[in-house]
Symmetry: C2
């Protein structure tokens, strides 16, 4: 009985429902799935396998799940910062997108983003952008797992010059990518309640429901969004979305910063999930989402980095640290968002938020083998009393040594085996000279 | 005319008063000092030198200045998290300190801390702890620059069992280390206004003033500190310290979280400096210091990580990112704490906060050659439109490739030349087995 791959000699954090930790654990992988996990008994030989990966005393854990990105925006990392939101968007980001977002550049930006994510231990990403076909092709080539949504917005957009065909384009994307690879799940991504009409929102959600795919939407990112939507009786964006039938268990509400108690109740009742993007919300000064309230109401919350123009990196390890600290200080309560809760948010709860909880997000027999190994022999990762604390409060993406997706080693000793990273860096640097000269 | 060392082939961020950037810059170093900086003219040969360091297209910038640490507390990294402050301190940290803080362990913890700091690009540290002699010996051996304060507290402390001799011990430390090395400046570190009597505070400050050294003190870290001090008419901790003569330009106020407008006015009028520790204040849920108000009042603010038990790392690059984002979101204003302000806070303003602004914190002729090189050929650091934005919002300590202090290369290609890091890690891991078993 040979396994395809055996990962050994590390502390295994399963993030299973019992949150089991296995000291000196062994993870046995066959046909892309975890078949078994158990502690290494003294002197017993390793199980037979075609390939072995030695964690060298490090931490073996589920790959992180990034529930919200716009991968091609890596191209605009650091192009404009520290500006009022309208100036940043209208004078910098929208013009740059208008001029430089074409199929070739979308592909390149996504290639850069997937390399950055893999090197920082993210194995699953949920993305939404325009020309998402190109993102899908780039992600597919990398071997990552992804939920990818073609953007729907009531303005002319890259690849969809006629906004009346925006939902049609999203549906075509879903149909095209539905069966291409078990790693890629297509989705519908409506930009927001203030950039899509009620008709567009309903049509897009109906399409997503009939195709049985995730429906992603930005909502309540800024305080004044309620004044920008066709609200009735000053209803909140959540009440509006609920009234028009958009809130259900296959809806991912991105940001959800300005949610009051009534909104929390609505969200909880609907089964909708939340993608919390703390660093982006901080950098753009959008506000602090009431994550403790969401958790108290049993709402599923995953973490996202958002695009690189508002973060400015895709390192979810740093996001784990930030989310724990941000909510402690904003509630003046050091016990909220403990390390275990935060690690679940970055793994299994992220998977749950995007509907992949049966596939990834924890290390359990029968699930896909999406796992990463952290090198803990570094000054900032010793002593090691508690691996969960270390992951949340001390580690960064640069501590990821190896990355496995669906049983395949994609990053080994910090080298991305599936990609020519040097070449991607060169190409992006060339393009940036043109963009930066504007 | 030979230089000792020439650093070349990188973008030089001087952080001088004009905030000059030199593309393809050359930094010429002799006798530990920067003698000259200039752009590399096409095809011109490099200046003659004994040694060259190629930045390989990366960023050459001042080493970071960490204005507040307790280095030996690296030993307690991750020992206890997510707890109410009193439980964390009284049931975990104080007992661990009581049992394990001895000269040997203080030395070991400081050895670990200096390795971690150097690998994350910190060249100057301001520390305060007990048995600070051992910290000084460890830091001296590493070749870092440091301000080191022996702790003063009105309780029996490691190395000072009789609290009535606490100021005497601090004075003895200052005298012992006054002339040992140009890299080490001794200081006096009073723990806080609620753990030292008025008499102790005055005596310690008088001693610091007569020795002409920095006086460090924790103040207003938590909201209820004003109830814990011998205040009159509900005066604030700052008003109290001001009334008893402790606020002047050689005083470093650490934390200063709970400062109102009147406190800000008092601090500004006194010339006292502030060490802002955002991640520690967040993790312990202490609160958010009014840093924008401090800056508006021209108060000098440096950054600190605080000890590893409340952070849990010593990576100032992550602190740059956090401080920018925290104050944007807490003021709901994305224009505050722009990247330039933040980078100054982590370098020259940090140096100013601890009285070393003529020595370090910027790359200018005549100043000590304390500089670091960032490797920017990494997916998360491209494209590179703006090196300052990249440093603050995208980089982490792991991007530091080389570190130079006083003209000497201490870290090269991420190897700490002055230290046996593997051995330190081994020793800490052994000790942690004992501490963790408690």
């Amino acid at each position: 009985m040979h396994f395809d791959l055996v990962v050994h000699n590390g502390t295994v954090l399963t993030v299973n429902p019992a949150f089991d930790t296995i000291e000196d654990g062994i993870v046995c992988i066959r046909d892309g799935k975890i078949e078994n996990l158990f502690p290494h008994q003294d002197d017993s030989p390793l199980p037979e396998a075609r390939e072995f990966l030695d964690a060298k005393g490090g931490i073996i854990m589920p790959g992180l799940v990034n529930t919200h990105t716009h991968l091609p925006m890596t191209l605009f990392r650091g192009l404009a910062d520290d500006l009022p939101l309208d100036v940043w968007l209208n004078e910098h980001i929208f013009p740059a997108e208008g001029k430089y977002i074409n199929p070739e550049n979308v592909r390149l930006g996504a290639e850069l983003g997937r390399a950055e994510m893999l090197l920082a231990g993210t194995t699953t990403v949920c993305d939404g952008y325009f020309l998402e076909d190109e993102v899908a092709a780039a992600v597919l080539a990398s071997g990552m797992r992804a939920i990818l949504g073609q953007g729907v917005i009531d303005f002319p957009a890259p690849g969809v010059p006629d906004p009346s065909r925006n939902v049609e384009a999203a549906v075509a994307f879903v149909k095209k990518w539905h069966d291409v690879s078990p790693l890629i799940s297509p989705s519908v991504f409506c930009h927001s309640p203030y950039t899509c009409s009620e008709e567009t929102l309903k049509k897009a959600k109906r399409a997503a429901s009939s195709l049985d795919v995730l429906f992603q939407i930005h909502v309540a990112e800024t305080q004044n969004e309620s004044t920008q939507i066709p609200s009735q009786n000053r209803e909140s964006p959540f009440a509006y979305l609920n009234r028009i039938g958009l809130l259900d268990q296959n809806t991912l509400l991105v940001h959800a910063v300005w949610a009051d108690d009534h909104d929390v109740e609505l969200i909880a009742g609907s089964g909708a999930k939340i993608s919390h993007n703390p660093e982006s919300n901080m950098k753009l000064a959008s506000g602090i989402a009431p994550v403790s309230l969401f958790l108290d109401s049993d709402i599923t919350v995953g973490l996202g980095t958002d695009g690189c123009a508002s973060n400015n990196n895709l390192d979810l390890f740093q996001e784990l640290d930030t989310v724990a600290k941000l909510h402690k200080v904003s509630t003046l309560n050091p016990t909220v968002m403990d390390a275990r809760t935060v690690l679940q948010m970055g793994t299994i709860d992220g998977a749950r938020a995007i509907g992949l909880q049966k596939v990834t997000g924890s290390l359990e027999p029968g699930k896909q083998a999406d796992l990463i190994i952290l090198d803990t022999r570094k000054p900032h990762l010793v002593p090691l009393y508690n691996p969960v604390s270390q992951i949340v409060y001390a580690a960064s993406g640069a501590d990821v040594k190896d990355v496995i997706v669906s049983g395949k080693i994609i990053v080994h000793n910090r080298e991305v085996l599936s990609l020519d990273v040097e070449n991607i860096i060169e190409e992006v640097a060339s393009l940036a000279k043109v963009i930066g000269a504007d």
